[in-house]
Amino acid sequence: MAALISPHLLKRLEQLQLLARRRSKSTAKGERRSGARGQSVEFADYRNYVPGDDLRRIDWNIYGRLDRLFLKLYEEERELPVTIFLDASESMSFGQVSKFDFARQVTAAVGYVALCGFDRVTVEPFPLGDDQVSLAGELRQVRGRKSSIRFFENLAKLKVAGTADLNQALRRGAMKHRAPGVSVILSDFLDPAGYEEGIKALAHRGSEIHAVQILSPEELEPSTYGDLKVIDSETGAEQEVTFGKYRLKTYRATVQNYCLRLQEFCRSRGICYQLSRSDTLIDDLLLKAMRTGGMWR
């Protein structure tokens, strides 16, 4: 646990609460307000008594004044499903501070905040290696603060593997988690097949989505020059390029355009977007950037 998040940061995270703009539609009880009526301390409405109703919920004070029977209705508190889509593809292993390590730290932080808020946390790593299926099962439907240690341990065991299909992973996640909640996507979004379809599917479910794009410093500013043959770590595809310092500016513009396109796509769908370097201090991202972005308060 200590390897992922420092105790000091955990204390700070305990004070945070995940924000959800929509009422929870989950069926399980929790501590989030929902549109359903049920048992809680929050009064919601009255309705006429009909035979069969629980006599304990009749408002006897009103009956005394009006001589009619009314039933007091309370808001049902449900849990908030929090789904974290964690990119575990080969490309995430790059960077002096590995992008995947950074993403796991963010996952742990989001998960911990959710667990402290009695929400249900599911981590969906993609792609999933054969030896990690059971591990992924452990990371599903995690509830309660007590589970956080186990949650962190399982997170630490995750490894990068294979080629990611972001669209497919998000589509599958949208189908799997029918109850809309909060979805956090942690990825570099460097997928040759794109990311649009997956995000659209997820947004269509009514999830509140937070996209965090994690790029390494080497991707933002390459330091190798000359006549290069660059090899894609996931696909093995080769590209030849002649690169020098004088083209660095153009390269930066390319990266910026790529990120801006993603940001624009997210904004048009009400998705919160964050770009983060893998060498950024995790405290800065969690306590400043994500707080400002409306992830929690």
């Binding site: 090899i231 894609d232 770590s233």
Partner: protein
């Protein structure tokens, strides 16, 4: 523009090779990246598997094609045809005399002159030719006509200054002969101009450019040194020296006299501006040895601060006077110190018993084998008698000859003289309009002074010049007298009666092997160093001194112009004349541009990939 080797255009076939190189794929450094998506804007090359790729616009390709085209262009040796003029023929005269050792300019005048000459060599065109002359006491053709700049530079670099006085006249005359009947000739003289003999040269149409070297500076120099027996104190030697100050400041210096490297006198001398000071040292001498005078002055010219003279504790000179009676002559001879004189009425050859013979108005049956002062007589082998002349006026005499030093013929009248024609080896010293009256010369080591009239038939014995002349003649005819010569003069002395080998050690320690002539005379010409020379022959050894003692060399102020003849003056030039370029090949310039392109291409490539 024309081309000397248009066939070099064949090399243009290499142009497509460069293009092929660009069609070939480059070897690249493999680098694993997280994803190639971000590199899409840099994917300029095709991913075809063939070894060739599509030719793209590439500045490197353009630069290299231009570079190759220029190289091919240079190989064709293009040239610009103009009005064809003949190539220049340049004679460069480099003064290597003693005054060129002056350090008034850094590092020395010779170095400055060599630098100027090097500039001239660099300015030569392909077809220009140059001759390099080194002018010291003798003129040396150091490099025959050539266009090879490397050879000229090498020869120029090897030039060294000598201790000898300048005789630019010989060099300029040689240059005139070399340039005669040639078109576009130039004679460049790199000198400080310290050569008074140039006034004897008429410039005529010689295209002489004077490159003045040096400025001028303080210099004290020894300009004369002589040792003579003290006239009053027996066993003592009087050393006469003259120190000249050629600068415009008054200078002083310590003067030290050494005898065989032992200090025998020291004196402080102060010499006024452009003035001289005479010094007399008295020193006792028991053995033969060398007196060396040294100025402790750190002036611009060091070579004239030292002079040496050999002093022999010599025996008396022996002379035989054959006369029918001439009291003037006999008294004049007897007045000469250290001279043992025998007087005879009839001549019989004494051989080596006497140093010289005086024949006074007698005709010997056999001519003496040694040195002779012949008065009013002639050898039938040497002279063609052609009668006599009455009252010949004296029109000229060579006062520069040692025999006529301090001798004046202004008020000498001659009543009758022989009208004889002296042989070629004799130099006429006193001349009348129709025949020489006095001549001297040396033939096969035998010195002869010939007087063509009887002094008793003239007013000469009554004049003071007569005993002076006799004293000079005794010195000149005495074989031991010539142990001190000037730098560059040949040393000659009769050593033995037959040929033998001689080893001569020079002042710098190097040795020369030579042989005497068949008559046993040593003639040695490599006397370009100042100092004491040692000749060893058999078991005997001989010393002789070589000195600069030249006031013209000591006067180190560089001449701003050269006076040539009576009417011509050559002003010093600052830069060598640059001739107009004609018929000049352009390949060097193109090669230079090629080099520039290579450098630019190198920079451009590294800018791309750095």
């Amino acid at each position: 523009m024309n081309f000397l080797t248009p066939e070099a255009l064949v090399f243009a076939a290499t142009l497509p090779v460069v293009v092929v190189f660009y069609l070939l794929k480059r070897r690249r450094v493999a680098r694993l990246v997280s994803s190639t998506i971000l590199w899409q804007r840099f994917l300029n090359e095709t991913q075809a598997s063939s070894p060739f790729q599509k030719l793209r616009h590439n500045w490197l390709l353009v630069i290299q094609l231009v570079l190759l085209a220029l190289a091919v262009f240079a190989l064709t040796r293009p040239y610009f045809a103009g009005k064809l003029e003949g190539s220049r023929f340049i004679v460069a005269i480099l003064d290597v005399s003693a005054s060129m050792q002056a350090t008034d300019v850094s590092p020395s005048r010779l170095a400055q002159a060599k630098a100027e000459a090097a500039k001239l060599i660099e300015s030569m065109h392909d077809r220009d030719r140059m001759v390099l002359l080194l002018a010291g006491a003798v003129t040396e053709v150091r490099q025959s006509p050539t266009s090879a700049k490397a050879a000229l530079r090498s020869v120029l670099g090897q030039a060294r200054a000598t201790d000898s006085p300048t005789h630019l006249l010989d060099a300029v005359k040689l240059a005139q002969n070399l340039t005669r009947n040639r078109a576009r000739t130039e004679v460049h003289l790199f000198s400080d101009g310290a050569s008074p003999d140039l006034e004897e040269f008429e410039l005529q149409d010689l295209n002489l450019v004077y490159h003045r070297v040096g400025e001028g500076g303080d210099n004290l120099g020894i300009v004369s040194l002589e040792v003579r027996p003290h006239p009053e104190q027996a066993g003592q030697q009087a050393i006469f020296a003259t120190v000249a100050n050629t600068s415009t400041n008054s200078l002083s210096s310590d003067v030290s006299l050494f005898f065989s490297e032992r200090l025998v006198g020291n004196r402080r001398v102060r010499v006024g501006a452009t003035n001289t000071a005479s010094l007399v040292f008295i020193a006792s001498q028991n053995t033969n040895g060398v007196f060396r005078l040294e100025l402790k002055s750190s002036d611009a010219l060091a070579v004239d601060n030292t002079a040496s003279v050999l002093s022999l504790a010599r025996r008396n000179t022996r002379a035989l006077l054959v006369t029918r009676g001439n009291s003037f002559l006999e008294r004049a001879l007897r007045s000469v110190s250290k001279l043992d004189l025998d007087v005879e009425a009839k001549f019989t050859d004494p051989g080596a018993a006497v140093d010289f013979v005086v024949l006074d108005d007698v005709v010997p049956s056999v001519w003496p084998s040694g040195n002779v002062l012949a008065i009013h007589t002639q050898s039938t082998n040497w002279f063609q008698p052609s009668g006599s002349i009455d009252g010949p006026p004296i029109v000229d005499w060579k006062s520069t000859h040692p025999l006529l030093r301090f001798v004046n013929f202004d008020n000498v009248q001659v009543a009758k003289a022989l009208a004889a024609k002296p042989p070629a080896w004799m130099t006429p010293l006193v001349e009348s309009p129709s025949a020489p009256l006095l001549a001297a010369g040396e033939n096969n080591g035998q010195r002869t002074v010939w007087i063509g009239f009887n002094p008793l038939d003239s007013t000469w014995p009554m004049r003071v010049s007569f005993p002076i002349f006799i004293a000079n003649a005794v010195d000149w005819l005495n074989p031991d007298a010539r142990t001190s010569i000037r730098v560059g003069e040949p040393f000659h002395m009769r050593l033995a009666s037959e040929e033998q080998s001689v080893t001569i050690e020079l002042p710098d320690g190097s040795t020369r092997e030579t042989r005497t002539t068949t008559t046993g005379e040593l003639i040695f010409g490599d006397t370009f160093q100042q100092g004491v020379y040692s000749a060893t022959f058999g078991t005997n050894a001989l010393l002789f001194c070589v000195n600069l003692l030249n006031s013209d060399e000591s006067r180190i102020r560089s001449r701003e112009s050269l006076q040539l003849g009576e009417y011509s003056t050559v002003e010093a030039t600052v830069e060598a004349k640059v001739q107009a370029n004609v018929d000049k090949e352009a390949w060097r310039w193109i090669a230079l541009i090629c080099l520039g392109f290579i450098l630019f291409e190198w920079w451009f490539y590294h800018r791309r990939t750095a």
